[in-house]
Symmetry: C2
Subunit: 357 residues, 2 copies
């Protein structure tokens, strides 16, 4: 049995559950490598993946005998088969944050489940701690993203539109081995940079524009996430103190990120320093990432947990002056026992682009 499924079986046994239905495709991919529609059944003795004929071949090609997963075509599963999966199981777990109310009712009826128990993000919590292979895939995604940023610094010209730059980013990712975008790219120039979640527009880059670029790719399923605010032609003097304040806090956060650090305290540190200077941190300081671009842990001052070694999280303070401009600087960071390793290597000092015709 593969080690991730073995872990899950041990874990649910600890909670006095004899089985579990896993429906969230990201959790299924995490546990088995399978990327196909279907349901993973952890039964009393065996593990099953229920899928349909469209995916059978693909699923079989991903699994090895070592995974210990029996693949079933739903078309060949009878009413009785369904009832047999959890025979003699007192308590069966389910993902209450993933399955709909309608599915919940259908599962109870179909599998004849006695006690269907909420599992409270059991697998998502385990996904916070990355193994070596996962870390190396995220590292590769970050590397491609750094290369893309390097390319953009030479590519961007006055008069290009935000959309053009966003398209170039997607093209670069695909040409350089990434699966594709990890999320919709943000390219926000001039006043548009004052919106934290801006969408690329037809606005052209003008001299003196700050340009906030928030981008990430996926590599073999794993995400990267970085943001830089760069400048077209020159750095306007009124932006400099804000940039310096954001960068100071980004660097300070990098120092604080380590195993055992309180997520609340680190977030409060940035919030308070911004407040002392008359600004607010209007979004979270960061978030975990991995198979999904936003995963646990969420780095904000409401989270009472601590960081742990082998978590991968973003560090992305930002300040936004409505109607004027904004600055955000974001790295993807690996937490270790003694500190943090920045997986994003791009420069964070003032970067001026489009200073040639």
């Amino acid at each position: 049995m593969n080690p991730k499924i073995k872990w899950l079986r041990d874990r649910i046994n600890m909670e006095n559950m004899q089985g579990m239905i896993i429906s969230n495709p990201v959790n299924i991919k995490y546990l088995t490598g399978i990327e196909a529609e279907g349901t993973l059944i952890i039964a009393r003795k065996e593990n099953f993946f229920l899928t349909d004929s469209r995916y059978l071949e693909e699923v079989q090609s991903v699994l090895t005998i070592n995974d210990g997963i029996i693949v079933n075509d739903v078309a060949s599963i009878s009413r009785d088969d369904y009832e047999n999966f959890f025979l003699f199981c007192e308590n069966v777990g389910f993902e209450e944050n993933y399955i709909t109310y309608a599915m919940y009712k259908k599962y109870i009826e179909r599998y004849k489940i006695n006690n269907f128990e909420e599992t409270e993000y059991l697998i998502e919590k385990q996904r916070m701690i990355k193994d070596e292979e996962e870390i190396s895939l995220i590292e590769k995604a970050c590397y491609i993203t750094d290369q893309c940023f390097k390319h953009l610094c030479n590519y961007i010209r006055i008069g290009m539109t935000e959309k053009q730059i966003a398209e170039e980013i997607e093209y670069f990712f695909k040409e350089n081995g990434a699966d594709g975008l990890a999320f919709e790219t943000i390219v926000a120039s001039g006043k548009n940079s004052s919106k934290p979640h801006a969408v690329p527009t037809d606005k052209k880059i003008e001299a003196g524009d700050p340009i906030t670029i928030d981008m990430g790719c996926k590599y073999k399923g794993y995400c990267s996430d970085m943001t830089r605010t760069i400048f077209a032609g020159y750095v306007p003097v009124q932006i400099q103190p804000i940039y310096d304040l954001v960068l100071k806090n980004e660097l300070q956060t990098l120092k604080e990120y380590k195993e055992g650090a309180s997520i609340r305290v680190v977030s409060k540190m940035v919030e308070n320093d911004f407040k002392l200077n008359g600004y607010d941190l209007v979004h979270s300081l960061g978030h975990g990432l991995g198979l999904e671009i936003h995963e646990m842990p969420y780095i904000n001052s409401k989270n009472d947990n601590v960081l742990k070694a082998n978590m991968v999280v973003t560090n992305e303070p930002g300040i936004y002056i409505p109607g004027s401009f904004g600055v955000r600087i974001e790295d993807t960071v690996l937490i270790t026992k003694s500190g943090s390793i920045n997986l994003t290597k791009s420069d964070k000092n003032y970067i001026i682009v489009a200073n040639r015709a």
Copy 2:
């Protein structure tokens, strides 16, 4: 109050419900035009949209006084406010196929709901019947897609990869006024065309390849969907009878599509004709489309409903010979009282591309 919300209020009253919580963002977009995270509350007398500070400005800019929707920032809603929304409501509806079991429990607790009632795709069923504006947006999306196909017929060359062609499609859509892709484009050449759900690969186009291109864009939120199987250089003789059989059934389906037509009977007609010739229809004959690429009605032989005027559905018979090749031809079609109007105008006879160096 806008007519779609007025319809919904009348509809839930008919079912003896005094309120409803709408959580599915596609249904919210349909009813209000709002594209933002949040919850639409149909209360006893008023309508509310609960969102957070990130979206307030955007939401206010979409709504007019005529919509009759009060926008609330969740940060300013107290415990008591939540309980007041459905005060004196005996039955409140919810989307059991959209909200998770965890949300279901949270809603009951937060809103102090007495009877929380399943609404069985109430809004999705209404979305099947398109109004004039919706039809004209789908028409525009189909027009852009036809233009893209015209472009591809000149663009494709021997030696290009499937991925290159897929990227050109996305680029063309964005350059020609579409919001972007309606779904991940399929470009499947040679043997790859035998997989109905193929993903574009680095395989190069070779002379004699059938190339199945399944593509669609979104225009102001509304989707198009078309498929053509075209040929690089020449049409291999062994593919011709299959192509002719698929095309014959596609044309026959177009004739059968009209208000009152039985979805089951039309699907069976194609299934049976394929069977008589020794083939199976391995996927549905079609599906509704609109704000989503796959919507009700699903056109297959298990659906006992009839077509209605102003439904927009695809017509996409296909035959796949494992390991060899496949042919699919798909149009987006508007159902009318007396017949159907094909919104996809591209040619369906043998199309040969890449016949120049």
